[in-house]
């Protein structure tokens, strides 16, 4: 293992796990966020040799048996994915958050996600997605009636309140 190989290079170029994206290479954009021993870190500033003996979680670990995870479904549901380039990093930051704090406040979500930049969405839909996944409300398709309708309306109110308050 060459000492100068970064974790992101190792993941993408050696393991062909190309879910993790490079945005800046200097730790400022968060696109390359992975979980290192459960902690969100930017893989561009970790050397592959440093993670000997550690666990690394990447976005490829989210879906199981072809089923999207709760977070992935929430991101799709709220429209939090536009170009998609920031999305794996966003998901991993959110995953790190929900593992250490399953019921985060809005402020806690913002602080946890503040290291992930997005040029497309304006962030509201992303925060709504994290809120949605945290509330463990199953994203559903169309109905506005019955039990699933209640869930759907609750979700829509969540998105709307995000819009009213702004992402702050």
């Amino acid at each position: 293992m060459p000492s100068g190989l970064t974790l992101i290079e190792f993941l993408r170029d050696r393991l062909y796990l190309t879910g993790t994206k490079e945005g800046c290479g200097i730790g400022e954009c968060g696109a390359c966020t992975v979980l290192l021993d459960e902690k969100p870190v930017t893989a561009c500033l970790v050397l592959a040799v440093e993670v000997d003996g550690c666990t690394v979680d990447t976005v490829e670990g989210e879906a199981t048996d072809g089923q999207l995870s709760d977070l992935q479904k929430a991101f799709v549901e709220t429209g939090a994915v536009q170009c998609g380039f920031c999305t794996p990093g966003m998901i991993m930051s959110a995953r790190g958050l929900l593992r250490r704090n399953p019921t985060p406040s809005d402020n806690e979500i913002i602080e946890a996600m503040a290291g992930n930049l997005c040029r497309c969405t304006g962030y509201e839909a992303i925060l709504a997605a994290v809120r949605l996944a945290a509330a463990a409300v199953q994203p559903v398709a169309e109905p506005l009636t019955g039990e699933t309708g209640t869930e759907r309306r609750r979700f829509l109110r969540g998105v709307e309140s995000t819009r009213k308050d702004g992402w702050r």
């Binding site: 100068g4 200097i26 730790g27 968060g30 966020t33 902690k39 930017t42 500033l45 440093e50 290291g115």
Partner: protein
């Protein structure tokens, strides 16, 4: 590939000391790597060996003793410090400084000691640790020495550490009962940014002493002379503090702000600090 360097991961301080004193080319200490690896990538630094200190148990210690005195090992990530309840309770200014640095992900790697050793006049951990009277313990094969933190900074990105020395730990003395501490950082934007100007202060109601330190306004972070508050009014103390910072600062214009802006904003930060620290019935 960031570069062609060797990587060593010693498990003891003596091993690390040998590597740093060795003849295999310039060595650099790797803790969080959030400054070092960026510098290597940007070709501002070209070490032959990286000495990873994160597996040295002695450097991972974050200890608050029964009196509240703090030991921060060189390999302790900022988030670990931020999340320690005892530190949040007794030294909120220290937590404020750490929380202002970079992003959550970077704070899982970056360290307080590393922030100081980078030697930037804008180092966010410097003002509060200066005001708290912190000391730095430096270790090498030649022995161990302890210095007041103010002695560490000798110039812009220059520290008093020898090439074979490891900054091993920070020691913060037990705070006086009811000590109040604050850190204020002026940035261009909310979120990840360097300090355009910064100020930290502590006030001990039991002794009536106010300690202030400022950053990003001189070649090094500056610890100002302590101010005896006594029975002086807040206005008088503010006046003293502003005059002290104006006399000490040597701001420059750079990509982030003009010298004029810094000259204007530092007194504002200092006044806010004094006001907050002296507030009646204030919590730590």
């Amino acid at each position: 590939m960031l570069g062609r360097f060797d990587y060593q991961r010693p498990s003891t301080l003596p091993e690390a000391g040998r590597l740093l004193a060795g003849n295999d080319g310039p060595a650099a200490i790797l803790a969080g790597g959030t400054d070092l690896l960026v510098d290597i990538r940007g070709r501002r630094h070209d070490p032959r060996i990286l000495v990873d200190i994160k597996r040295i148990d002695a450097l991972r210690r974050l200890n608050v003793d029964s009196a509240g005195a703090l030991t921060i090992g060189a390999a302790v990530p900022l988030n670990e410090m931020i999340e320690r309840a005892a530190i949040r309770r007794t030294l909120p200014g220290l937590v404020q400084a750490a929380e202002s640095i970079a992003t959550y992900q970077l704070r899982n790697r970056a360290t307080a000691v590393g922030n100081l050793c980078n030697g930037s006049p804008a180092a966010d951990m410097a003002p509060i640790l200066l005001a708290l009277g912190a000391h730095l313990v430096a270790w090498s094969q030649r022995g161990e020495r302890t210095m007041p933190l103010s002695s560490l900074f000798v110039g812009v990105k220059k520290t008093a550490l020898a090439p074979d020395e490891i900054a091993a730990e920070l020691r913060v003395p037990a705070p006086e009962p009811g000590l109040r501490s604050r850190f204020l950082k002026q940035q261009r934007l909310r979120g990840h940014d360097l300090a355009v100007a910064s100020a930290a202060g502590t006030y001990a109601p039991t002794t009536g002493v106010l300690r202030l330190a400022v950053g990003s306004c001189a070649p090094t972070p500056l610890l100002l002379e302590p101010i005896e508050v006594g029975r002086s009014s807040k206005a008088v103390v503010e006046e003293k503090a502003v005059r002290a910072v104006q006399a000490a600062m040597q701001p420059i214009s750079d990509t982030r702000a003009s010298a004029d802006y810094r000259r204007t904003v530092l007194p504002v930060l200092v006044k806010r600090l004094v006001s907050d620290l002296l507030a009646e019935g204030g919590a730590p």
